[in-house]
Symmetry: C2
Subunit: 321 residues, 2 copies
């Protein structure tokens, strides 16, 4: 069994491309990197723990993808350009095949976004993954949770609840149905909306990525912007499978409070609606207007099921399970 | 039991000081920070796992200190000025007393070095701690592992093997003796040598912090500088307790290969020895010349016990246990 240093060297060093702004990579006490002069640095750290964020039998390649994707999603939600990542792996044993597959998934996504792996460590222990990503953003174009204004329109990218549906099918709570391959892909290989986030800076000052569920994440925007929000249920963009599920069960929890979608939720001033929607219509990834910011606090629902709304208002909360 | 968001807000937000270069702290998808124009960014990430780096019954305040200290030590070894930290905590339950003590230890050390906590997360799972620290360094003064030159003198700060002795006493392998309070302090609350690291840039191009043991860490310098090193055993700076242990047992493994010392190991060109030692004599923290870099590869020992040197040459290696 190879030593820690060998493992790190073998799989980390050549895992990702070399960027010219990396003066010193993974072989020293610290990495040394250069931030462009007219940009500020955006930083995000996330942990994935076995038995909590994924099952121990998860496909390691998908896990490598997802560990980086959820962090890139945070950069996307800030409108930042990804640059570097650090990876801290805790592994029960030095399983080379597992590590190789994990790094393949991680490196492929890193390469797609021009991200260089610049540091991290490997430790023996219960399987867990910590990733820190860093990128650049023009501070005048940063998408902050406190950037929403009264009357701003609320938009969301893609569709809502697909990952949650895949998870509940996998857990045996819902029978399979619809395009399961597509739903599984949404759960296992979320696509960080980096391109969208970088385009939004022209129109928006406020975004968040939907990791804990639409209602809970919109609640963060409300709290930090000191406003309320009204969501129009019938406008929520749903895939055919989620739409079927909502129609047959009358339960809106999948699009409202299932996490793991990693779509972007953002606001646009009403005065710029036409201009924004004209440009957005040319994008590959659809965005949908789903409500607006208003005076007050908290998220309100507008739609047939208003009376049941409380149950859907809970964000996915790790310590409240 | 409070929710994750409440826990984070309560203990993280006010844990450390506010720096003017932090545009956005822990309440958003990313932190936004500003790097000074004439500096590059130094980044280090480390993970501490229960049962591996510490026992589950560890004093949480000491653990909070150590989790940050080992990361600041990496910045010290690069000669960098600490600025920001992210903290990813995985906790088996939301134990408020534990978390409060942990954050007290973390925040006190952060405050001492002017470090602001800018991000992180809290997850339920087996106890583990991931810390990422960032700081600034003038790239012309960075202390790199590949910066040693043939003939450079090798120095080390403080004393060697104290933390290892405390650990072996705690594990029942060695009977207690000497000033155990001092030895325990060295193991539980290592002091990152940040001030020393920042002074060294005038004389040195090469340093590493001793986390895995003197011989192993000097081995990293040798490998990356493509040189060998000769260590003079009799010159190694030892506390009274470690000196006693070495004398009675004839075993040099404590100063040579016990980890967790977090002293700095660095090189100085021989031509600057007198000038360097004159200045170093005015420092509070002693530094000791212990050998020199030479042609060849690997670390050689000069001293009475040369024949047994192989046994001491193994770095502490997590996957070789």
């Amino acid at each position: 069994m190879p030593g820690e240093f060998d493992l790190i060297r073998r799989y980390f060093r050549d895992a990702t491309r070399s960027r010219p702004d990396v003066l010193l990579g993974i072989d020293d006490d610290c990495a040394l990197v250069q931030v462009p002069q007219d940009r500020v640095l955006a930083i995000s750290s996330d942990t994935l723990v076995s038995g909590h964020h994924f099952t121990p039998d998860v496909d390691p390649e998908a896990l490598g993808h997802k560990a980086l994707a959820v962090n890139l999603s945070d950069l996307a939600a800030m409108g930042a350009e990804p640059a570097w990542a650090s990876l801290c792996l805790t592994l029960p044993q030095a399983d080379e095949a597992w590590l190789q597959a994990f790094m393949r998934g991680f490196a492929r996504l890193a390469d797609e976004y021009g991200v260089q792996l610049i540091g991290g460590d490997t430790t023996r222990g219960p399987l867990g993954i910590g990733v820190t990503v860093q990128g650049f953003v023009d501070p005048a174009r940063a998408l902050r949770r406190d950037g929403a204004r009264e009357g701003d329109l609320i938009y969301v990218s893609g569709t809502l609840g697909d990952a949650g549906l895949a998870l509940r099918v996998r857990q045996g709570e819902i029978p399979p149905g619809g395009d399961m391959r597509l739903l599984d892909e949404r759960l296992d290989r979320p696509q960080p909306r980096v391109g969208l986030g970088r385009c939004l800076g022209t129109y928006s000052r406020c975004a968040i990525d939907i990791s804990d569920g639409l209602a809970g994440d919109l609640g963060h925007i409300c709290r930090q912007s000191r406003l309320g929000a009204l969501l129009e249920l019938e406008r929520l963009p749903l895939s055919a499978a989620v739409r079927d599920r909502v129609r047959t069960s009358g339960d809106w929890s999948l699009p409202l409070s299932a996490g793991d979608d990693y779509e972007l939720l953002f606001t646009v001033p009403a005065a710029r609606q036409a201009e924004f929607e004209r440009e957005a219509a040319t994008w590959e990834l659809p965005v949908t207007r789903i409500g607006f910011m208003q005076r007050g606090e908290g998220v309100r629902l507008h739609g047939a099921q208003g009376a049941q709304s409380d149950r859907w208002m809970r964000a996915y909360d790790h310590f409240r399970e």
